[in-house]
């Protein structure tokens, strides 16, 4: 690790202000991505702005029929939250599938979404449920939030405050773990909502994406059988030690089927 300064502001404004005055400053949430990167000397922020002192960023609440998850809420809290479990079981399940207990107790939804790792899980739920990302400046619909590999719609100095999840009729997440890191090789989030079915796939490509063909098929027939022959193209999928692009493409269908089955 290189030398850095540390701040622990108690309000969003204060955090935003420090950030706006220094291009090299970085927000610190659970540190599960940022700190290992710093230890490897691959990142060298001049200042760390620790968000853990800002009370309003933490916790889960219900508001106008939506589930609101604060940016600093650890995965473990979401996984074990009674309301989430009752209203959006797919989301609770997804949070409980992230990493290991240490990671789930430190890592946060805000950090995960801001980072937009192609193998991370939360983008699956956010896009799959058509959630809204609320920042200190605006509201960003999920369909506009995830732009590409580690790339989001967040502007320089913009902070995620919370995420608003509409409650679906049914939802489920099926994950094929990377055996080493336990990130997603392929994760399929399916939801049946008032506006129709949404299918979001994470892990397979450079960025989370929807599969309209599957959504249509499931809109007319909510069953695993309805999508069993729908194949996605492997063209821009990831290939690494653990899975080639065409294996991932195959798994997209398998995991989507499993998610539909799990949602019931």
């Amino acid at each position: 690790m290189y030398q850095f300064d540390y701040h622990r502001p108690t309000s969003l404004d204060e955090a935003a202000q420090i950030l706006s005055q220094d291009d090299e400053a970085s927000l610190l949430a659970g540190g599960q991505t940022l700190l290992p990167t710093m230890k490897q000397r691959l990142a060298a922020p001049s200042q760390l702005v620790d968000l853990s002192g800002i009370a309003e960023l933490k916790g889960v609440r219900e508001d106008s029929g939506q589930i609101i998850v604060g940016a600093m809420t650890p995965h473990d809290t979401v996984a074990n939250d009674k309301t989430v479990q009752a209203k959006i079981p797919g989301l609770a399940h997804l949070a409980g599938e992230i990493g290991d207990p240490q990671v789930r107790n430190r890592g946060t939804i805000g950090g995960s979404l801001a980072n937009n790792d192609p193998a991370s899980d939360y983008p699956g739920a956010v896009l799959g449920l058509g959630a809204t990302v609320r920042t200190n400046k605006r509201e960003i619909p999920a369909d506009d939030f995830f732009l590409g590999l580690f790339e989001t719609a967040l502007d320089e100095g913009e902070l995620i405050k919370e995420v608003a999840f509409p409650v679906p009729k049914k939802s489920a997440y099926a994950k094929f773990h990377n055996p080493a890191s336990r990130y997603a090789i392929v994760g399929a989030f399916v939801a049946s909502t008032e506006q129709g079915v949404r299918v979001a796939i994470t892990g397979a490509g450079p960025c989370v994406f929807r599969v309209p063909e599957m959504e249509q098929a499931l809109n007319s027939n909510w069953s695993a059988d309805a999508i069993k022959d729908i194949k996605v193209a492997a063209d821009d999928f990831n290939t690494d030690l653990h899975a080639s692009a065409d294996y991932r493409a195959h798994l997209v269908t398998v995991m989507a089927k499993r998610a539909v089955q799990a949602a019931g």
């Binding site: 000397r41 030690l241 653990h242």
Partner: protein, 787 residues
Amino acid sequence: MPDTGAQRVLRKEDNRFLTGRGRYTDDFNRQGQAYGVFVRSEMAHAKIKSVDTSQAEQAPGVVAVFTGKDMEADGVGSLPCGWTVTDRHGNPHKAPPHWPLARDKVRYVGDQVAFVIAETDAQARDAAELVAVDYEPLDAVVETGKALNGPQVHEEAPDNLCFDWEIGDKQATDDAFAKADHVSKVELVNNRLVPNAIEPRAAIGEYDPGGDEYTLYSTSQNPHLLRLILCAFVLNLPEHKVRVVAPDVGGGFGSKIYCYAEETTCVWASKKLDGRPVKWVATRTEAFQADAHGRDHITTAEMALDKDGKFLGMRVDTIANLGAYLSNFSTAVPTYLYGTLLAGQYKTPAIHGNVKAVFTNTAPVDAYRGAGRPEATYVVERLVERCARDLNIDPAEIRRRNFVQPDEFPYQTPVALTYDSGQYELALDEALKMIDYRNFAQRRQESERRGKLRGIGFSAYIEACGIAPSQVVGALGAGVGLWESAQVRFNATGSISVFTGSHSHGQGHETTFAQMVADKFGTDYNNVDIVHGDTGRIPMGMGTYGSRSLAVGGSAILRACDKVVEKGKKIAAHMLEASVDDIEFDQGTFRVAGTDKQKSIGEIAFAAYVPHDFPQDVEPGLDETAFYDPANFTYPSGVHIAEVEIDPDTGETQIADWVAVDDFGRVINPMIVEGQVHGGIAQGVGQALLENTVYDPDSGQLVTGSYQDYTMPRADDLPSFRVGMTETPCPHNPVGAKGCGEAGAIAAPAALMNAITDALGTEDIQMPATREKVWRVAQQRLAPAAE
């Protein structure tokens, strides 16, 4: 007094381990200590044109920066290979030098180039980035199969060949193949593994100019051996002036046997700094890059059989990757610990093995849990399974037909070893019963109904451990003898301190040895403390590896206990006014035969140190030392059977069941032994399904350099193992123990791969059988049916 023998008592050492009170090397901090960080090569192969340390030397807190040139100027020697292998033509293996800090070339990613020492660890890391190394890149070779034709790693070794070695009778083997009714053949990859001890290596070198003495704290499995190599070969130091302390050590699996560059450099640097202690603690990245790796063979093996499935002859050709430099025992692993085990549990009359050991631009390879024997078992048991499938003979039956029988011991194999004992069929029968082999077909059908593929796989392994008779290993080229020492000291108040040359780094010696000694003297095991890991406290010893601690170290302890009893008898004879010949000893009591005159060993011990009325010919003290050199290797054996269920849709392999029936000879603490079996199987499962060390074939970079990419087995990858045991005591050591530390890792890969290939109906898959590989094979196999 409780009989603690063969008892599942809890491990004494776990109190400190589980409450965070273990004392590991990194927990020691010495007065005035500075911190060292290695600058490591980022190139797989390159000439070092220059190393500019000037900027680093100016950095805050920097105490010194050393390079290979500094060590060269100081006459520092090469890290030695301690086992000379003689090739097929009678020549010794090629032994290019291995400098602790590279001098003119780097040969793998992670090779040490410079050592930066600073007031703090962070300062040392900052400064290390300022060392500017000017490299001239060279072509690299990392793949085992390409080494013989690859860019040359060492001038001393044309074709990258370290040695071309053979064992067995080639002519007799060729003759067997000529008359065979059938020949079966397998082509196998034994994947390279990173040892992954939970505690990374660490060292503190400390020179005391006052007494011209050195102390090294280090994560070693064998502190005396480390001292010997350090003094005699690398740093040229007087052995009596060097103390090596290996305190609590968090796992080794072989990787902490060796004298490495890093601890050597710490000791040397402390002298250069006039006595400032220098501490180095490996990062996990360094552990991946620079711990000695394991395995890495490619092999073709053939079996000649008659029409009844009797083995007539076996032929094995192996290329073994030794990495960029020879680690201390690297040459012995693919030869004397591998070729000699190719008979397995079978009476194959003629065997010929050829091993070509090669250099590549990868981390050195040396002994890793099992060391050669897992590789041998993998070859033999995959081949035997293949024979059964080719000839359509039940895999249990083909083994039965070829087993060495109980009345045939001692059995001389065609590959040098003499097996002393074993009941191979007994273990097989027990394992078949435990796994309910008879109903396997039903279980398979049931899996098929759920769209799953089920398979069953056998591994009947034998290993040679309890290494080793000094005379035998000496004749085979070892630079050391492999005996063990023990000192058993009664304290005046009756408690017992046992000093052993074995070293515990997770095995539970402090409990097992204490149980054994307590049993001998009829006392509670809490009255016995086991002291290990410090050359300053313990007689010269040889350490722990090759499942030798109980068989060899434990035997030395029993011998020392016997000497204590003999000495005790003299004291008792004096106290009881009897003749020594009339004194009997049993369960802690000395008695005049046929009388009720007796003294407890506690009374004897007290008298031994308060000898107010001892006659001239009875020495005070009750403290005896013994050295034990085994008469033979020990030969644990057993049968593991794995049952798997594969999901052809994803390639996931679920281990549905696992039974292990092992014969370790006498067992002292079954709980500890079962733990060793569980851990060994876990590592074997890791090798077969998950773990793989990948270097990029073009750049030579280590691709699997962290846990993000290197897949360790986890609890949820493993089934609940079912462990059974048969007990055929070792006939030639006083404990009767054979050794259990490596068996799981030896047996497991073959059992699992045999099960997977059985499920898939093809042999065409190599370890690790990752989900994608299994999926591809399953798709091919199911494709015609699907159409």
